[in-house]
């Protein structure tokens, strides 16, 4: 066990060092080399890298609940999307009177729907600190309520997977409704500025990339620390033998719940970093397919390793970027085949090929 955690530890450090390198070098290159130079990263590349960072963070949080706690959450994308919506609401309020209708308070879609005043749940989102808080609190509370209900009544296995999927599906349907006040199927978009800076500017893009990178590194180190603590060890034990841990006197549901809430909050953070970089959030982020894709990242990279999720998220999304550009028809074939082959032949994912360890499922 020690030897394995050492090699995994080492591999994890390598991966996180790479992330740190990107986080530091990309802004550095862009500061040193002038526009047009080969080492000057384009706005597209910077945003793409930043997007991969947020996906890696999202994958990491799913690995926490799936790889360490054995909860195959098929609705993890919901927390990501909720975080995205929270920051999206702030960005909508930042537009102010620069919208198409020029209303100083109401976002365009509300003017379009003929609403006269801001719904109560939009209040406060003009403040960045409030929105940032909500990015963590909203997904966290949802995970708390849902997890509390589910874990307390010992819903496990495929049942749990299915109701998490139902959760994100229900949220998707809800956010598609115009009456919800989140822009219906267009979602929130057309953002202009963040904290007063133009959102399209290079400096903001680089800053977002750096923040995403730092968040990923921070989340990785924090998660690695957590799984070494008592919480992490009990949770891992729950994954392997839930009944036995319960009989030993641990309150299994509490351990699961805290890990689930922690992961949901980090997923919300990932969503909040994702939205300013892509410039849109809409209900399709809630779709069950999106949540399943997160599962592929983790499965492909190798679950229960944390860094495997990062590797998987970046690889799959890079593949998606390349393939959907070149051969759109091939993408679903590839993804489908990846699902089947990885589950059948690589139960420990790609990193399982490289990192040798003891018998671990």
């Amino acid at each position: 066990m020690n030897g394995h955690s050492f090699t995994n530890h080492k591999a994890g450090s390598v991966v996180i060092a790479l992330v740190a390198a990107v986080t530091v070098l990309v802004p550095l290159c862009n500061a040193v080399f002038p526009d047009g130079s080969a080492l000057h990263f384009s706005a597209y590349t910077v945003s793409l890298l930043g997007k991969y960072m947020t996906f890696a963070l999202l994958g990491l949080t799913l690995d926490l609940v799936w790889g360490y706690c054995g909860i195959l959450a098929l609705g993890h994308g919901a927390f990501f999307a909720l975080g995205g919506y929270a920051i999206g609401m702030y960005l909508m309020r930042q537009i102010g009177n620069r919208g198409v209708y020029g209303d100083p308070v109401l976002p365009d879609f509300m003017v379009f729907l003929n609403w006269k005043e801001l719904p109560w749940y939009w209040l406060g989102f003009d403040q960045f600190w409030f929105a940032s808080l909500m990015v963590l609190i909203v997904p966290g509370s949802l995970a708390f309520v849902f997890g509390w209900l589910a874990f307390r009544s010992r819903v496990t296995g495929v049942y749990l997977s299915i109701i998490t999927q139902a959760l994100t599906y229900a949220l998707m349907l809800a956010f598609f409704r115009n009456e919800m006040g989140f822009g219906g199927n267009n979602g929130l978009t057309d953002f202009k500025s963040i904290l007063g800076f133009t959102i399209q500017s290079e400096a903001v893009r680089l800053a977002l990339l750096m923040i995403s990178g730092l968040s990923l590194i921070g989340a990785f180190l924090l998660s690695r620390w957590i799984i070494k603590t008592k919480l992490g060890r009990v949770v891992t034990a729950v994954r392997d033998q839930e009944s036995r841990v319960r009989f030993l006197g641990y309150r299994v549901e509490m351990f699961k719940l805290w890990l689930f809430v922690f992961a949901a909050m980090l997923a919300g953070l990932a969503g909040a970093l994702y939205v300013p970089q892509v410039g849109i959030i809409n209900p399709s982020e809630f779709s069950p397919l999106n949540s399943l894709e997160i599962v592929v990242w983790v499965a492909l990279g190798g679950r229960g390793t944390l860094y495997g999720a990062i590797v998987g998220a970046v690889l799959v999304n890079y593949g998606k970027t390349v393939l959907t550009g070149l051969l759109p028809e091939i993408w679903l074939f590839t993804l489908g085949a990846a699902f089947v082959l990885v589950t059948m032949f690589l139960p420990r994912g790609l990193v399982g090929l490289l990192v040798r360890d003891g018998k671990e499922s």
Binding site: L72, F146, L149, A150, R152, S153, R154, V155, G157, V158, Y159, S161, I162, I163, Q165, A166, L167, Y169, A170, L173, A174, F176, R177, P288, L289, L292, V295, V296, A299, E329, L332, F333, L335, G336, A337, A338, F339, V340, T343, M344, P347
Partner: protein, 567 residues
């Protein structure tokens, strides 16, 4: 000459008066308008005498102006010629043409770019002609109104009680004095109870306008038995005040009675609308049950969730589409043949999935879920590559389209009705397979205790494969049913997969009755919420309800008993 034409004109004056009065009779005083209009009309157009024969009438129908056509239509409806109704219906449907070669009136049915024509006079087939060989007879709205009434009158003479009933029902909203007179003559000879009832409804509605209080009260007595929207609307107007604040019905007694009749009709209306809601709920439930029942078997027996289940349904729906492409002439038969075809295809794919993938993942349900999801993506993209990403339309056979109009307040669509029947049939067959066959026995044994079954010599691997094939085949059959009510596209499966999971989880795994009860109750609850909350919100509420329900009953409504469930 001049005197002669004067006589003719006067003779025609009376005919025209009748003709023109028909469309405007709904407003009683429109007759005067018609007369004055007629007076100006007289000087402009001369009117020819009545046609001597059916053939002449048809020729004039082709060549005449609008006014003349209306006369001929009126005339045809009184001749009682056996071809009159066919010709008038063809005219109304835009299928009456003039053959350019010899000016003969023909009825043409569009067929692959050209027209299959038949002689309007005799009905003899005249072969195919191109679009340019015939000239269409154009209609105006007023001519359409005249036509419908003329056809209605002809239908009253029909030997078939159903078409007489349809004719009378069509007259309810537009009955005028002339129609009433006509109806009264037919009433004397009418033997069919339902046609008579419809006639009495028209009379009673007419009596409501009577000047005598007793007649109006009697009419209300008759009307209270009818489930008719027209009656309801008429009475609602009657008890209301008009724009000047006066009651439409001056007499308080009549108003009181009308109100009590309204209450009675309203109660029945609510009853029927409840029946309708339950029916729609059951039909939605039937779709859910069809989608979920195959899943319930595989989940119950093997403990694996087949995420490709929706795509197996999609394959069934595409099978229906392909069958219709193969035999476009026999739409109804192709749908029936699609049922076994879809079963075989989906079952084959299902067995391939089980043998190729799932059997290697035995005992790892979550991994199975992921692998089958990969398969579902694969199948979706395959279908998208073969059939294009666009939706394909499957034609509903005639016997399944339209609706069963029970009364004004209750009509059930045939396709939903058949799907409900089909669902119950599939359910019964499946239940019998599980209860009475050797395979069913083995399936139940494996579901209850896999190891014990193995010890007793049951080939569990074979049972797994066959169970999966059975569940998948039923998914294919469900796809055939779905193709009749929704678009056939690559995403068809995805839109049902979450719902069918919900049904299985709600009903309890491995319990067919649970699936049936869960599907129907979710369907009914959904449809009951819909009018109040809207379709999407109703669905969300149902999902939230299930999520909460699972907390209370983690194993569903009817939990499976046995040790295997603890695994």
């Amino acid at each position: 000459m001049k005197a002669n034409s004067m006589v003719c004109s006067y003779l025609w004056l009376s005919v025209l008066l009748l003709v023109l009065s028909v469309p405007c009779m709904a407003q009683g005083n429109a007759v005067e308008a018609a007369v004055s209009e007629l007076a100006s009309e007289r000087t402009e157009s001369r009117v020819d005498p009545l046609p001597a024969s059916f053939a002449e009438a048809l020729t004039r129908l082709l060549r005449g102006n609008i006014k003349e056509r209306e006369q001929i239509v009126e005339h045809l409806s009184t001749t009682g010629h056996p071809r009159a109704q066919v010709v008038l219906e063809a005219l109304l449907n835009g299928e009456l043409f003039e053959l350019k070669a010899d000016g003969r009136p023909v009825i043409g049915a569009e067929n692959q770019g050209g027209y299959a024509i038949s002689d309007a006079l005799t009905g003899d087939a005249l072969g195919y002609v191109g679009r340019g060989d015939i000239a269409k007879i154009n209609l105006t709205n007023s001519l359409r109104v005249t036509l419908r009434k003329a056809i209605g009158r002809l239908q009253l003479r029909s030997g078939d009680a159903a078409s007489r009933l349809a004719a009378v029902n069509a007259m309810i909203t537009s009955a005028d004095d002339k129609t009433l007179e006509l109806l009264r003559t037919f009433e004397a000879t009418e033997r069919d109870e339902r046609v008579l009832a419809a006639m009495r409804l028209i009379f009673a509605l007419h009596d409501l306008r009577s000047d005598h209080k007793s007649v109006r009260l009697n009419a209300l007595d008759t009307l209270k038995e009818y489930n008719s929207l027209e009656v309801y609307n008429r009475l609602s107007v009657l008890v209301d005040r008009d724009d000047d604040g006066h009651f439409v019905e001056p007499d308080a007694d009549v108003r009181k009675k009308a109100k009590s009749v309204l209450v009675k009709i309203d109660a029945r209306r609510q009853f029927y609308s409840a029946v309708e809601t339950v029916f729609f709920g059951l039909s939605l439930g039937a779709v859910l049950v069809l989608a979920a029942i195959g899943l319930a078997i595989t989940f119950g027996v093997m403990g694996v969730i087949n995420m490709a289940h929706g795509e197996l349904m999609m394959l069934g729906a595409y099978t229906t589409y392909v069958m219709q492409q193969i035999m476009p002439e026999y739409l109804g038969l192709s749908v029936l043949l699609a049922i076994p075809a879809a079963f075989v295809i989906s079952a084959a794919v299902g067995i391939a999935i089980e043998r190729g993938i799932i059997c290697f993942l035995y005992g790892r349900p979550l991994e199975t879920l992921l692998a089958t999801f990969g398969v579902s993506l694969f199948l979706q993209q395959t279908v998208r590559s073969i059939f294009s990403p666009l939706n394909r339309s499957v034609t509903t056979p005639e016997w399944m389209s339209g609706s069963w109009q029970i009364n004004d307040f209750l009509s059930l669509t045939w396709n939903r009705f058949y799907i409900l029947l089909f669902c119950l049939l599939v359910f019964t067959v499946l239940l019998q397979i599980l209860k009475r066959t050797r395979l069913g026995l083995e399936v139940r044994a494996v579901a209850q205790n896999r190891n014990m079954a193995k010890a007793m010599g049951i080939p569990t691997a074979r049972v797994d494969a066959l169970t999966f094939g059975l569940g998948s085949g039923i998914a294919g059959v469900a796809g055939v049913a779905l193709s009749q009510i929704t678009n056939v596209g690559p995403n068809l499966g995805q839109s049902y997969i979450v719902d069918s999971f919900m049904v299985v989880v709600f009903g309890g795994v491995g319990n067919l009755w649970g699936t049936l009860v869960a599907g129907f109750s979710l369907g009914i609850v959904n449809k009951m919420l819909e009018p109040h909350a809207g379709a999407v919100l109703a669905k969300i509420l149902v999902l939230v309800f299930i999520i909460l329900f699972i907390q209370k009953r983690p194993r569903g409504l009817f939990p499976q008993k046995g040790r295997a469930t603890e695994a």
